[in-house]
């Protein structure tokens, strides 16, 4: 029994709790309920017909490469509205080894200042 209690033990952080095992059990239970509920639904669809084509507002489908949105195009809205931050970051990363050493020296200088002020 003590073994079981250790395994079921709640993880305490001092300000909160987290019990993974109980969550897993509950989630499995809910999964079962929803899965049964989902089972009442209609399973069928017509494979290989027009149905399974992607919806493109009636336009013909492009070749597969063009249907796949490229990784670097994702999060456009986010990078767009915070463009100035990303521009600065981009400028920071020059890829030049001299700059890497320069950053190291700068950080060291800042640390000297901070520790010296102590």
């Amino acid at each position: 029994m003590s073994m079981l209690e250790t395994l079921l033990g709640t993880f305490q952080t001092g300000s909160g709790f987290w019990n993974p095992i109980v969550w897993i059990i509950v989630a499995a239970l809910v999964f079962l309920i929803t899965y049964i509920l989902r089972g009442f639904g209609n399973k069928k669809y017509k494979k290989g017909t027009e149905q399974v084509k992607s919806f493109l507002s009636g336009n013909p489908e492009y070749e597969k490469e063009k249907m796949h949105v490229k990784g670097s195009n994702l999060f456009w809205g986010f990078t767009e509205s915070l463009k100035w931050i990303f521009d600065i970051l981009h400028k920071m990363h020059t890829g030049n080894i001299s700059d890497y050493v320069l950053w190291f020296v700068i950080v060291m200088a800042v640390l000297f200042l901070l520790v010296g002020l102590m």
């Binding site: 981009h90 990363h93 020059t94 890829g95 030049n96 080894i97 001299s98 050493v101 320069l102 020296v105």
Partner: protein, 119 residues
């Protein structure tokens, strides 16, 4: 004052080395800069081991009247320096061999030209 000269030399060597690494664009020169920093640090180590009027710490052939161990210069800094030199040689060899490869691929030794690959 005369005892401070090694420390001034150490500072100067380290700063010259850093300057070389940061502001020179030729990779070979950067490697030279690193070697200069290394010499500075090694000089610093060896300076720390200096003890006025001391003898070499070889127990079997001490001159008569030596105070043990105060009269002997301490062997540890020398050992450290030797180790550091050996490591330095290994690093130097590695860096130069990498530079050969870089030259083969890029046809240049300019750090700005080979560097600008950041996505």
């Amino acid at each position: 004052m005369i005892f401070n000269i090694p420390f001034i030399a150490v500072t100067a060597l380290v700063l010259i080395g850093l300057y070389t690494v940061i502001f020179r664009r030729n990779l070979i020169k950067m490697v030279i800069g690193i070697t200069i920093i290394q010499s500075g640090v090694n000089l610093f180590l060896i300076t720390l081991g200096y003890r006025e009027n001391s003898v070499a710490p070889i127990f079997t052939s001490l001159p008569p009247g030596t105070i043990v161990p105060e009269g002997m210069s301490f062997p540890v800094p020398q050992a450290l320096t030797l180790t550091s030199i050996v490591i330095g040689v290994a690093v130097l060899a590695l860096m130069l061999s990498l530079i050969i490869h870089i030259y083969r691929h890029y046809g240049t030794l300019d750090s700005k030209e080979i560097g600008g690959n950041e996505e």
